[in-house]
């Protein structure tokens, strides 16, 4: 058997992200997702002869933002090139991309998720157009082509091979997505294809000087899929090497349903893209002032925000990294902290617990949930004031989300106030003692842990409106006298 750690892994990722412009990169067709096939196409994105592409200024601005946020050098001068290949999703038979003068290069991204800092270098960031979408008909021998996606603005972010495990790849993708969303330049929805990822992966004996032969992985449709596919590929490569075989440089496709990679059928000739400068687009000069003003306009990015949350709010690093990951979640935290500064750790617990749960259940983002931070802070105050119990608060949170009402109004209209009337509580307690002779007997015989059960019964009778701590004390006192 191979002892663990005999090999080390080298991974580089290529992320394609769709920029959230209104119109396509080189023409005025809409970028709306989910429209009827071929309803958003024109002579430019259909590749008709003589049609001329014109650069979308917003797309370039978005791309520069990303380049700056990733700490890249922004090129003073960039151009577009034609990358030639034949495929039915590409009617011009070339894709407008960037080859030797990309928009940005030599950046880096710092991972901080588990409190351990690692730097992943960014090799380059460049702009290109997307190709059409192929739909493989279930039946028959046809594929269908939809050119609505053709000409969508894409930004390709290429990392150096600095990633050392599938988990780290997952973390890198999460961080890239987080930054893009902070910048508000892409919705990064993998299901809708607005963020796609390819990987280069190789393994080598630990300590070996040169890198192993790499394979390219494609067709990974979720972040989790990327992690699983990379692990599969590591295991596959190990098995090949252990049997004395050789890794062949090839492109493999991840098949999620079958949970394995398959060799992509390669054409006879090697890829020869015959890049040359795109004659229909003139060069672009990006001056320092433009770059500096974009730099100055950037929001606080997740890493900085994480540091500030740990430093200023003294949040646990694990919670801080979850909260800063989504900009609107972090905004919600900060707004709530203003309204309820006495225990921000409690706010963090609610956000990563119940609130995150509601978001997942409803498949919503924090911004679209409709929960106001002032309302949430007020709810926490109601617990402190003894008006409601923590258990009632959990239900109240859901009511607040569903009605958009302030917690104090809901407590009133739904009658959720905690029962503080001792007489009322005693009556409930007597009823519970009467109806549960067996546990009461057990308690008297020294099985004191049945108290939890009895407290639970009182809570049930009062629909959670009793304070469990007080009930506990009252029950102990009462049963001590039995």
């Amino acid at each position: 058997m191979t002892p663990a750690g005999k090999y080390e892994t080298t991974i580089g990722l290529e992320v394609h992200v769709q920029l959230a412009t209104q119109s396509k990169i080189f023409c005025g067709c809409s970028t709306r997702f989910g429209s009827s096939p071929n309803s958003q196409a024109c002579p430019v994105c259909l590749g008709f002869p003589g049609a001329l592409p014109v650069m979308n200024k917003e797309a370039l601005g978005f791309a520069i933002k990303v380049g700056v946020a990733l700490g890249c050098e922004i090129a003073g001068r960039m151009k577009f090139d034609r990358k030639h290949y034949y495929y039915p999703d590409l009617p011009k038979n070339f894709q407008i991309s960037q080859y030797d003068l990309p928009l940005a290069a030599e950046g880096s991204l710092e991972l901080f998720g588990d409190g351990q800092r690692r730097v992943i270098r960014i090799k380059r960031v460049h702009l290109e157009e997307d190709a059409g979408k192929l739909i493989h008909a279930e039946k028959g021998d046809a594929s269908l082509v939809d050119f609505n996606r053709s000409g969508m603005p894409l930004l390709e972010v290429v990392s150096e091979p600095d990633i050392t495990s599938p988990e780290e790849a997952y973390e890198y993708l999460t961080e890239v997505k987080s930054i893009l969303r902070y910048l508000d330049v892409s919705d990064c929805n993998m299901e809708e294809g607005s963020l796609r990822c390819d990987a280069n992966i190789s393994i080598r004996k630990t300590g070996a000087k040169s890198l192993g032969v790499k394979t390219e992985l494609k067709n990974m449709n979720t972040f989790r899929g990327v992690k699983i596919a990379l692990q599969y590929e590591i295991d596959r490569q190990k098995a090949v090497l252990e049997e004395g075989g050789k890794i062949i440089q090839e492109t493999r496709l991840w098949n999620e349903a079958k949970a394995r990679t398959f060799l992509m059928r390669t054409k006879e000739e090697a890829f020869d893209y015959r890049y040359f400068p795109e004659p229909d687009l003139v060069p672009f000069l990006i001056d320092r002032e433009t770059v500096e003003s974009i730099k100055a306009s950037l929001p606080e990015l997740p890493q900085k925000r994480y540091e500030r949350f740990v430093e200023n709010y003294k949040l646990q690093p694990a919670l801080a990294s979850i909260i800063v990951n989504e900009r609107d979640l972090a905004d919600f935290f900060e707004e709530s902290a203003k309204g309820y500064p006495r225990n921000v750790q409690l706010i963090a617990n609610w956000i990563t617990g119940d609130i995150q749960g509601e978001l997942n259940k409803r498949k919503l983002s924090m911004a679209s949930l409709g929960l106001k931070p002032e309302a949430f802070a007020d709810m926490l105050k109601l617990i402190d004031e003894g008006v409601i119990t923590g258990k009632i608060a959990k239900g109240l949170l859901v009511d607040m989300i569903e009605t958009g009402s302030m917690p104090r109004e809901l407590v009133k209209s739904l009658g959720l106030s905690q029962i503080t009337d001792k007489g009322a509580l005693e009556a409930v307690m007597e009823k519970v003692i009467k109806n549960n002779p067996k546990p009461v007997e057990d308690y008297k015989n020294g099985k004191t842990n049945v108290i939890t059960f009895l407290v639970g019964q009182v809570m049930r009778e009062t629909k959670g409106k009793a304070n469990p701590k007080i009930i506990n004390e009252m029950l102990r006192e009462r049963m001590g006298k039995l």
Partner: protein
Amino acid sequence: MKKKIDVEYIANLARIRLSKKEIDGFSGQLADIISFIEKLNKADTKETPPTTHPLPLKNVFRADTVKKSLTQEKVLQNAPEKRETSFKVPKIIEES
């Protein structure tokens, strides 16, 4: 010195079919063209900035505004085959 040009390879990349006679003819012609262009290598370009475009233009943009697309009918007008509003092509299978 004349360069040997692999016309068959280039023709294959460009998806064009050439006869043996055409291959021989183009081979010579392309080699002549390349040799002629190679004269440029002798030019002193130390002081010349790289030129990627012959026009003295830069930074030509359009605003990010949505314009009307073609109708689906027009888009599909020249499609050799179609299904509903999609182009229909022979099945593309990527897995081995």
